[in-house]
Amino acid sequence: MTRYRALHPFDTAGRLTRFALGAAADVTDAVIRALTAAVVDRMDLDELVSRVDVNQVAERVDVDRIAARLDLDAVLDRIDLAALTKGVLTEIDLGRIVRDTGGGMADETVHGLRARSVRADRMVDRIADRLLRRPDPEQGDEHEQDSDTGSVVVSVSGSGSPGSSREQTL
């Protein structure tokens, strides 16, 4: 019985046909893959994409419909907003920013006050020099009589910078 089935011509023909079809399908797949790869390689995809009107595609997208399908409450429920906020504040160190800003403003204010007072001091000096008919300080006179002690003060200018002058009381 078994030998009869093995040698049955229709059965054998059917098996050969299935084998041939399977082999043909494999070959066809391989050929199609090779052809597709070759076609894609030769195609200029950038040019192809540039022909697509993206704006038109975007106009067809119904954002409201997509948004309506989103369940934002469910998404938010899954997020620990308190921990997230705490993490963000820790990351940007908000306290340090506030401290730096406040400290910077205070430093700027104090520095401005000092600079103004120094200018006012110089202005008072200039007025006093004019009233007392003293020589102009900008001229840097070499010998001058000290009004406090009566001693002669010799001015020795250093490298030309304004603050580098020295004085020696003789």
Partner: protein, 150 residues
């Protein structure tokens, strides 16, 4: 203080009249605050000892003046001896140094300077006249007030 030095960079130079008057005004407010704090402290002590109600001490004008003068004297002396700067001086960037060494004044010199400043504050008006920006107190006690934090 030569003319060239007056016109130069401020750090290390002797301070002028306006800076020192402003520093003095700030110090006056500080002393007033200290006096108020002392009064509240005395009222608190009285509250603890004798019980309620809380009342500030009712001092005579002369005694109040004496207390304020003492507070100012101790405040100025302590500030100059310890750091060379009072609160006002620190705000305006000023420091009191001795004329020769440039160091901080000693206790006696600072005490005498504080007393002179309190008795005769008009001595500051000598600063514009002086070529080295010295007040009468500076001339008497050989001290200088310099720009320190510019």
């Amino acid at each position: 203080m030569t003319g060239a030095e007056r016109a130069g960079g401020p750090r290390g130079d002797a301070a002028g009249l306006v800076s020192r008057v402003l520093a003095g005004l700030v110090d006056a407010f500080v002393v007033a605050g200290l006096g108020l704090a002392v009064q509240f402290g005395a009222g608190g002590v009285r509250l603890l000892v004798t019980g309620p109600p809380f009342r500030l001490p009712d001092l005579s004008v002369r005694l109040s003046g004496l207390c304020g003068w003492t507070i100012a004297l101790l405040y100025l002396t302590g500030s100059w001896v310890l750091t060379g700067s009072t609160v006002g001086g620190r705000l305006l960037g000023l420091r009191v140094v001795t004329g020769r060494s440039g160091g901080l004044p000693g206790v006696l010199r600072a005490l005498a300077r504080a007393a002179l400043c309190l008795v005769f504050p008009l001595g500051l008006l000598w600063i514009p006249v002086s070529r080295r920006r010295a007040s009468v107190q500076d001339l008497v006690l050989a001290t200088t007030v310099r720009y320190d934090r510019m």
